[in-house]
């Protein structure tokens, strides 16, 4: 329990740091969001000081000291108030984010767990058969696949499976002709639209898990208890799974939390390729339109989500490995 409490403390501290980074980032940069908006406006004519003041007030550019700004910023975060989006004016940013978040969380979450399980199994096999083709084939193709840019894998799948073969829908999360609702037609439509983005993330992230598991497994295979188990004449499958893999999976699980950030980053690009209406596509729209409030809120939400996932992995790790609980 103390372990979980200390992890909760760390989660809160890290979340606070992330929120503060999010607060400081725009203030450390040259220019301000309001300046950018005014610059856009001034292309169509001169901007009066009154208009300027109105825009600054509207875009949430608060006056006062940095400390004062910080306090009111924290307060608005607490109320889940991120201001209004420029692009989808006058929709509140929080509404846009909550609409997009489930798509990304479900897509990335499912695929990441799948890739982790699959990659770990292949990694175990590769390490056990070290030096044979069963090792070199997955490690070589794994290092090649993990070097694929996510968006490129996405573009290729989109082109060949989507446009050329027409096996899967090419854009969006559901078709224009299906109405959202809990019925078979809609659910199967959503699943069909998710296949290509999911396949992209799976293919590209699989290599990393294979390599990670293979390397920790090889280190474990050198341990004395594995040699001892072999000397006892245990079946090689028992040694591989019950002795080596069981211990090798722990360090790989730590990697899971850290690699998640990379997968999330990659999935943002994938969403842009498939116009999948998740956080990544929204972030892309925010960037293109210089929609700073939306961009900031999305960055914060992505970071907090990754922090939360890391927290879950940490707690899980504590239960799997009693040594960390001391």
């Amino acid at each position: 329990m103390r372990y979980v409490l200390s992890k909760i403390g760390l989660l809160l501290l890290t979340a606070w740091a992330a929120i503060t980074v999010n607060f400081l980032l725009p203030r450390m940069m040259p220019g301000s969001p309001a300046d950018a908006a005014i610059a856009k406006l001034s292309r169509n004519g001169t901007v009066s000081p009154a208009t300027r003041a109105a825009i600054e007030a509207q875009l949430g550019v608060p006056g006062g000291s940095l400390w004062h700004q910080y306090v009111s910023y924290l307060d608005s975060i607490r109320r889940f108030d991120f201001g209004l989006s420029y692009t989808f004016f006058p929709q509140p940013v929080s509404e846009l984010v909550t609409k997009a978040l489930p798509y990304t969380v479900i897509l990335v979450g499912t695929v990441t767990v799948l890739a982790f399980v699959l990659g770990t199994l292949i990694g175990i096999g590769a390490a056990w058969k070290r030096g044979t083709w069963m090792d070199s084939l997955p490690t070589l193709s794994g290092s090649f696949l993990s070097a694929f840019p996510y968006f490129w894998t996405g573009l290729l799948l989109l082109f060949f499976l989507g446009y050329q073969l027409r096996w899967f829908p090419t854009s969006g999360a559901y078709g224009a002709r299906t109405l959202p609702g809990w019925n078979g037609a809609f659910v199967s439509d959503v699943l069909a639209h998710a296949v290509l983005p999911a396949l992209t993330i799976l293919i590209t992230s699989l290599g990393g898990w294979i390599l990670g598991m293979r390397n920790t497994m090889i280190n474990t295979l050198g341990e004395d208890y594995v040699t001892f188990a072999e000397a006892n004449g245990l079946r090689s499958r028992t040694v591989a799974i019950r002795y080596a893999a069981r211990n090798a999976i722990l360090p790989n699980l730590t990697g899971f939390g850290l690699a998640l950030g990379g997968v999330v980053g990659g999935s943002l690009l994938v969403e842009q390729v498939f116009h999948y209406p998740g956080v990544g596509y929204l972030l892309y729209n925010a960037v293109v339109n210089q929609d700073y409030p939306l961009m900031q809120a999305l960055f914060l939400m992505i970071t907090i989500s990754v922090l939360a996932a890391n927290f879950v992995v940490d707690v899980l790790y504590g239960f799997l490995d009693p040594r960390t609980r001391r």
Binding site: T14, A17, A18, V21, L25, P26, M29, P30, G31, A36, W128, R130, G131, T132, S136, T139, L140, S143, F144, S146, A147, F148, P149, Y150, F151, W152, L155, L156, L158, F159, F160, Y163, Q164, N215, I218, N219, G222, G257, L258, L260, G261, G262, V264, G265, G266, L268, L269, Q272, L283, Y284, V287, V288, Q290, M295, Q296, L298, F299, I302, T303, V306
Partner: protein
């Protein structure tokens, strides 16, 4: 600061007089290191691929049949004898763009990789050597940088620095990409910290700064090389991702921006698969070559990862 060469390891102290002088040792160490990497088949493949890309980047103007931004050709042409990979929607030669694009990826990879590694070495080593409160603070900061997803962070910073050039993009990539290396180097420093040679240096009155960077650092050459190639790989992928989103200068011809224009000009509909395939394949190959080289570098620091010793 101090022109004397790095202190020789204890074992060579007994060997008389053929210690070479001048810049030769560094050069010779590099060659020997390269030979060690070359001995690993996977790493050899990586070195060959990397060499091809380096030469392409270096001799791009000689190799490319046309200029990278020469748009005097037909639009959306399929592959032909004149244009091996076809032409873009703006009427540029795809092959020439791929060849010139190698320069951006190679330069960003090496520069941003070097910057990130420099920060990682500085933070990782002093963090691993320090104890107490400062180490805790460093621990928190590095972990923060590790968990904040780097691509969104890069996107946000780069968007604020509107139309930032290549140098700025490299710096942004380095700022967001040093934490992993720092963590790896820190744990190695921690394990070296309690070795006898460090204790000996402490007793002989050397300062912490000197112990960290003159005594401990040389022992971690392979680890630093490894984290350099890792950082360079990440930088290449990050740059291509940012260019693909159209962040940074989209008029610069890079592999990422080629794909950005390809998607925005509906190359998917015109069926120009070569335009989609070539730039991404180059990114993947270049990144793979660095990963493959790291198999050889891994072997330097961890004999268990050396090849050819199956159970």
């Amino acid at each position: 600061m101090n022109p004397t060469p790095a202190p020789a390891p204890a074992s060579t102290a007994a060997v008389p007089d053929h210690a070479p002088s001048g810049p030769a040792p560094l050069w010779r160490t590099a060659v020997r290191g390269l030979a060690t990497i070359w001995a690993v088949p996977k790493a050899r493949l990586g070195l060959v691929i990397l060499a091809v890309f380096l030469l392409t980047a270096l001799f791009a103007p000689l190799l490319a049949p046309y200029g990278a931004t020469d748009n005097s050709f037909g639009r959306n042409e399929a592959a032909s004898a004149a244009h091996w990979l076809g032409t873009t929607a703006a009427g540029e030669d795809v092959l020439s763009q791929v060849i010139f694009g190698s320069r951006i990826s190679v330069v960003v990879g090496f520069v941003a990789g070097a910057l990130a590694t420099a920060v990682a070495v500085l933070v990782g080593l002093s963090w691993g050597y320090a104890r107490g409160f400062l180490a805790d603070v460093a621990n928190f900061v590095v972990n923060l940088f590790l968990v904040i997803p780097s691509l969104p962070l890069m996107i946000v910073i780069a968007t604020y620095l509107q139309n930032s050039g290549l140098a700025m993009i490299s710096i942004v990539i380095a700022i967001t990409g040093w934490a992993w290396g720092a963590r790896v180097l820190r744990s190695q420093t921690q394990s070296l910290r309690s070795r006898d040679f460090v204790t000996a240096a402490q007793f002989s009155g050397e300062g912490s700064w000197r112990i960290v960077f003159r005594e401990i650092l040389p022992n971690m050459t392979s680890l630093i090389t490894g984290s350099y190639f890792g950082a360079a790989t990440a930088a290449i992928l990050a740059e291509s991702g940012l260019s693909f989103l159209g962040i940074g200068d989209t008029s610069v011809v890079s592999w990422g921006s080629m794909l950005f224009w390809a998607q925005n000009s509906n190359a998917l509909l015109t069926g120009q698969w070569l335009l989609l395939l070539a730039p991404g394949l180059c990114i993947a190959l270049l990144a793979t070559s660095l990963t493959l080289i790291n198999f050889g570098v891994d072997g330097l620091s961890n004999p268990r990862l050396r090849e050819g010793k199956g159970r």
